[in-house]
């Protein structure tokens, strides 16, 4: 194939544009432009205006004021901090737990295929289902399963969602995303050459050294992928928060997606919601440009 040749760009330049091929790509391309790029440009445009839908005809241009408010208003800053807290905690926890699970699954044992298959279940659960089940049946301070366990251990029952709201959301989202981290890290572990490990063991390498000097460097790329992709996907967490806490108590679990929903659909503050939307996209773009470069290299690699 063209791109597998040593000088792909030169080869491609010689080739005339294949009109039939372009026509096959065009509908998908146009569709995506119309449904993602045009609305985003409109979002950017709205973000410069003070515009409340309840007063539709009064729409003064206010420049960067919406952005300024995002970065100066203590409440809005708190929302952004919440988003970062949620993202960081879930990324760290899923890597720790998912990594441990990946190590456990990276052995030969009876029923391994089945265990691996069943393990992804929590990732497949609709976020809203996760939230209603955790909220009502597990975390309920009186009837919930966790309350019963606390009682058995002689501890007082805890109203998790009102006492530790962010930690509760982190727990749910971690539960959902651990399989994702585990499976990617497992893929990384499985590509570790067994003979290298055996050679190291013969040289008297302790398990800890083996982990630190061999496995961890080998896993660095998988870890990078988990961090980058989870950051992108966690930036979008919405269903769990909407269903479990509605952003509360107060604004303690309001993250950017929920904030935008509230500003736009409860307060009709289109300008501020748009500014927050632009920020979310800019942030995601920053992260995804790294991951896209990685994917780009692999696309080339796959065709070689």
């Amino acid at each position: 194939m063209m791109q597998s040749l040593p000088t792909p760009t030169q080869e491609n330049k010689k080739k005339p544009i294949n009109i039939a091929a372009v026509l096959l790509v065009l509908p998908a391309l146009v569709y995506l432009i119309v449904t993602t790029q045009l609305p985003f440009i409109m979002t950017v445009y709205y973000s410069f205006f003070k515009w409340n839908l309840t007063i539709p005809n009064d729409r003064p241009f206010i420049g960067l004021s919406n952005y300024l408010s995002l970065f100066t208003d203590a409440q809005n800053l708190h929302v952004m901090l919440n988003t970062v807290v949620l993202m960081l905690s879930v990324v760290v926890l899923t890597i720790l737990i998912g990594g441990a699970v990946a190590m456990l699954l990276n052995r030969r044992f009876l029923g391994r295929g089945m265990v691996r298959t069943l393990f992804i279940s929590s990732f497949l659960v609709m976020p809203v289902v996760t939230a209603v089940v955790w909220k009502n049946m597990l975390m309920n301070p009186v009837f919930g399963f966790f309350a019963w366990i606390s009682q058995q251990l002689g501890l007082p029952a805890v109203d998790y969602l009102s006492q530790y709201p962010m930690a509760s959301i982190v727990a749910m989202v971690t539960w959902e995303w651990t399989p994702f981290a585990a499976l990617i890290l497992l893929t990384g572990l499985q590509s570790m050459p067994e003979d290298q490990l055996e050679a190291a063991r013969l040289d008297g390498c302790t398990p800890l050294q083996e982990f630190w000097y061999m496995l961890l460097p080998h896993l660095s790329k998988s870890l990078e992928v988990v961090v980058l992709l989870e950051t992108i996907f966690l930036m979008q967490v919405y269903g769990e928060i909407y269903t479990a806490t509605s952003g509360g108590p107060g604004i303690s679990t309001t993250t950017i997606p929920y904030f935008i929903y509230q500003k736009a659909f409860a307060e009709y503050n289109i300008g501020l919601a748009s500014a927050a939307g632009v920020l979310a996209v800019l942030f995601t773009n920053l992260v995804s440009s790294v991951i896209l470069r990685m994917i780009g290299r692999n696309i080339q690699g796959a065709q070689a």
């Binding site: 509908p27 979002t43 049946m137 309920n140 909407y242």
Partner: protein, 287 residues
């Protein structure tokens, strides 16, 4: 695994083997225990679906009971219309994403031009874009075009979610087919259409089928657009389930039955497509 131990048979090694066997079975038990803990919320939910409402929120929790199907039959009454909406919207959007995405993925894999790679990467980048970046104008456009709370409106948005995935997956599956096969077909005078239907499609079919499963999974579980662009008539299951968010005790069994019905199909699809699931989510960033 224990090839080193097996190679030499000194008496000291047999005890070493015994230790490693004990260690191995302990690790296996630990793995099963961790799995059980992870599945517990789901097991608990499914169990509650088969309990009476009193059993479902009894303290101490009821572990052994005579299962009843009453919750499922009762849930079905309210669940039905939302299920119909979900199927219509998910099916419609998967179909539309395939109509647009399969030809694009095919053309980009077989006839790469100068801009193909950057186009493909740009398409993937739209999959990573947070929906909150577009929801405000989309809501306003939908409102003015009377698309709010319609099946068609959600089909359009769910297509946007899955289209980059379809293009990327189809592209990667067709790229994996040895190029010689296409060259041979070309030598035999195959047209682009024949290449598509007679070479690419049959060979990439398993991959394309699992791509469809992924589309169904992602669209089925989508919440953000569903909540903000529908209210009642076109609301899919995610909206219905979220209406249980304030159920304090009394409706746990019924809620669990509805939730079980909601996640069951996706769960089965996901188990079948687990390898492709990771591939689809990482866009080939890990090999």
């Amino acid at each position: 695994m224990s090839s080193i131990q097996e190679a030499t048979l000194k008496p000291a090694d047999t005890s070493k083997m015994a230790i490693s066997m004990v260690k191995s079975s302990l690790l296996t038990s630990l793995t099963y225990l961790v799995l059980l803990m992870f599945l517990f919320p789901l097991i608990w939910m499914v169990m509650a679906g088969f309990k009476t409402e009193a059993q479902a929120f009894a303290t101490p929790p009821v572990f052994f009971f005579t299962p009843t199907l009453e919750n499922f039959t009762r849930a079905m009454e309210t669940y039905g219309p939302f299920l119909k909406n979900s199927i219509l919207i998910v099916g419609g959007s998967t179909l539309l994403a395939f109509l647009l995405g399969v030809p694009a993925g095919f053309a980009m894999a077989l006839y790469p031009g100068q801009r193909t790679k950057s186009t493909l990467l740009w398409m993937l980048s739209t999959k990573m874009m947070p929906p909150v970046g577009v929801i405000v104008p989309l809501f306003l456009i939908f409102r003015d075009a009377h698309l709010l709370d319609t099946h068609f409106g959600l089909i359009l948005m769910f297509t946007t979610i899955n289209l980059p995935l379809v293009v990327w997956m189809v592209h990667s599956y067709i790229s994996e087919i040895p190029f010689g096969i296409f060259e041979a077909a070309k030598v035999d005078g195959a047209s682009m259409l024949q290449e598509f239907f007679q070479v690419a499609m049959p060979l990439a079919l398993p991959g394309i089928a699992s791509t469809a499963l992924l589309c169904v999974i992602f669209a089925w579980n989508e919440v953000f657009f569903a909540m903000n662009l529908t209210s009642s008539t076109a609301a899919p299951l995610s909206v219905f389930i979220s209406s249980f968010k304030t159920s304090e005790g009394l409706f746990w069994a019924q809620m669990s039955a509805a939730a079980t019905l909601t996640i069951a199909p996706v769960m089965v699809f996901g188990w079948f497509a687990q390898k492709q699931l990771i591939r689809g989510l990482t866009f080939g960033a890990v090999k």
